[in-house]
């Protein structure tokens, strides 16, 4: 009986310790996120939340980069991230407004989602629509694909 009590006691202790460790980690995470949200715009990613550390647009332009302190840019980044991880419904929700707003990367990914049926029903019309938007936005591959598709359909 004593042995059983010891085993039960140790098991309970292990479970409680496990829960405590994760609770502490969770609380720290919540605290950090709350602080980050308070400091940043509601839509910004962690990457975009510290204005003081973000490179300025001149520096960014010098290396061909874009500064991500605009809410839309950060939403797009999260959308791209979701897309890369195969979280397509989330990617779609994040990318669609950016695509409508003219963001080329978001438009390219939306075209792919309609082409492949990622997170949406496969839809050739929508695929061609977004390909057209990409082409109008200066996307060379989209132009080439449209040209080829038009040639194929006469």
């Amino acid at each position: 009986m004593n042995e059983l009590g010891l085993i039960v006691g140790l098991s309970v202790f292990a479970v409680v310790a496990f829960l405590l460790v994760h609770l502490v980690w969770f609380l720290r995470h919540v605290k950090k996120n709350t602080q980050a949200s308070a400091a940043a715009s509601p839509d910004s990613t962690p990457a975009a939340s510290a204005d003081s550390d973000t490179i300025d647009s001149e520096q960014a332009a010098s290396v061909g980069a874009t500064v991500t302190d605009e809410p839309q840019a950060s939403t797009t980044r999260r959308g791209v991230r979701a897309f890369m991880r195969g979280n397509y419904p989330e990617a779609f929700n994040l990318l669609q407004p950016a695509a409508e707003g003219g963001n080329l990367k978001a438009q390219q990914l939306l075209a792919k989602m309609y082409f492949a049926g990622h997170g949406v029903d496969q839809d050739r019309e929508q695929y061609l629509y977004w390909l057209q938007r990409c082409a109008e936005n200066g996307d060379k591959p989209a132009r080439a694909k449209l040209k080829k598709l038009r040639a194929a359909t006469g």
Binding site: D53, R77, V80, K105, K112, H118, K140, A144
Partner: protein, 331 residues
């Protein structure tokens, strides 16, 4: 100066950064100037390779399609005349019967076919005709087999959203066609030229923390890639890395610098006040690797233990670094 360990160097000679494909995962359109490497620049680069005590493996991949080069056949012949083992990466769409024969008559040691998709997906991703590419590759494989397989063939597969579930089928397709080597790659952000949704890009947050973490773990911030994957652009300039798609960091010409002299110049780049532009947004950069983990922990996407796992991974990787990379820079 401690020499680099034997057999660890590859020299990528970019014959061109032009390409007939428009792959969705390739940021080649970010390249500001496009052109073909002059033949004299190629022969000079080969001279530079032969100056080294240990000749590196010479390969042409770069940022374009090597077979587009108007003197590609002469290039292949030149390498043969120097007795060098040479290989190239191609999308296969221009590998005509004539070019295939020329390649088989030369000392080309290997060809890597960059073909990550089949059928309609291939046409969507590469914007090339799949039938042409398939016919070219199958014909080359037949000719190679008839010649006793002098050329080692491999297929490079870059995982992306359309093919992730189909890679095993694609590999089976090419295996059946006679290819036995496969290189699987995940997409990288190509020196920041590709947006793959990484948090650290375009900002400098967590840089100090990351540098401190590297130091505490005895990790160097010097990237190994510029020293083991040597890269010469089509214009004859050495660059830190083939991922410098925007050609942001030209380091000097092959006509002015030997590869060993360039090692010293490259090493010094990592100890300048400013981070080399080519590395600033690169996901292969060690500091950026740690920064990304810090962002993921901050976002609640990874547990804090992830940092320890990543540093352990980096420590294990660093054990394979050449001595030169780990040594203090030459003053």
């Amino acid at each position: 100066m401690a020499r680099l360990q034997q057999g660890m160097r590859n020299l990528d000679i970019e014959l061109t950064n032009r390409c007939n494909a428009l792959c969705t995962f390739c940021p080649r359109d970010k390249t500001p100037e496009q052109g073909f490497m002059p033949f004299e620049t190629f022969t000079k680069t080969i001279e530079r390779a032969l100056e080294l005590d240990v000749t590196p493996k010479v390969h042409s991949a770069g940022q374009g399609e090597p077979t587009l080069h108007p003197r590609f056949a002469d290039i292949v012949d030149h390498v043969s005349s120097k007795g060098l083992e040479y290989g190239f990466t191609t999308n296969g769409s221009l590998l005509t019967e004539e070019l295939s024969r020329r390649v088989l008559d030369s000392s080309v040691e290997h060809i890597c076919f960059s073909i990550s998709d089949l059928g309609e997906d291939y046409e969507e991703v590469y914007a090339l005709s799949f039938d042409t590419t398939r016919a070219n590759i199958l014909r080359f494989l037949d000719m190679n087999e008839a010649a006793g397989n002098p050329v080692r063939t491999q297929v490079s597969l870059v995982a992306h959203d359309l093919n992730r579930e189909k890679l095993a089928d694609y590999q089976a397709f090419w295996s059946e066609a006679g290819i036995s080597e496969f290189c699987h790659f995940e997409q990288t952000n190509r020196g920041g030229a590709c947006d793959i949704g990484l948090y650290f890009v375009d900002n400098q947050r967590h840089s100090e923390d990351a540098r401190r973490i590297l130091q505490e773990n005895g990790l160097t911030h010097v990237c190994v890639v510029p020293f083991v994957m040597l890269f010469v652009g089509w214009n004859g300039q050495y660059y830190l890395c083939c991922n410098d798609y925007r050609k942001l960091t030209p380091l000097g010409s092959v006509f002015d610098h030997s590869i060993e002299a360039m090692d010293v110049i490259k090493k010094a780049k990592f100890f300048e006040q400013e981070i080399p532009a080519a590395c600033l947004n690169c996901d292969l950069d060690t500091t950026n690797i740690v920064r990304e983990v810090l962002f993921e922990i901050e976002a609640g996407e990874a547990p804090p233990g992830r940092l320890q796992e990543k540093t352990a991974e980096l420590i294990a990787r660093q054990q394979h670094y050449p001595d030169f990379v780990l040594a203090e820079p030459v003053a």
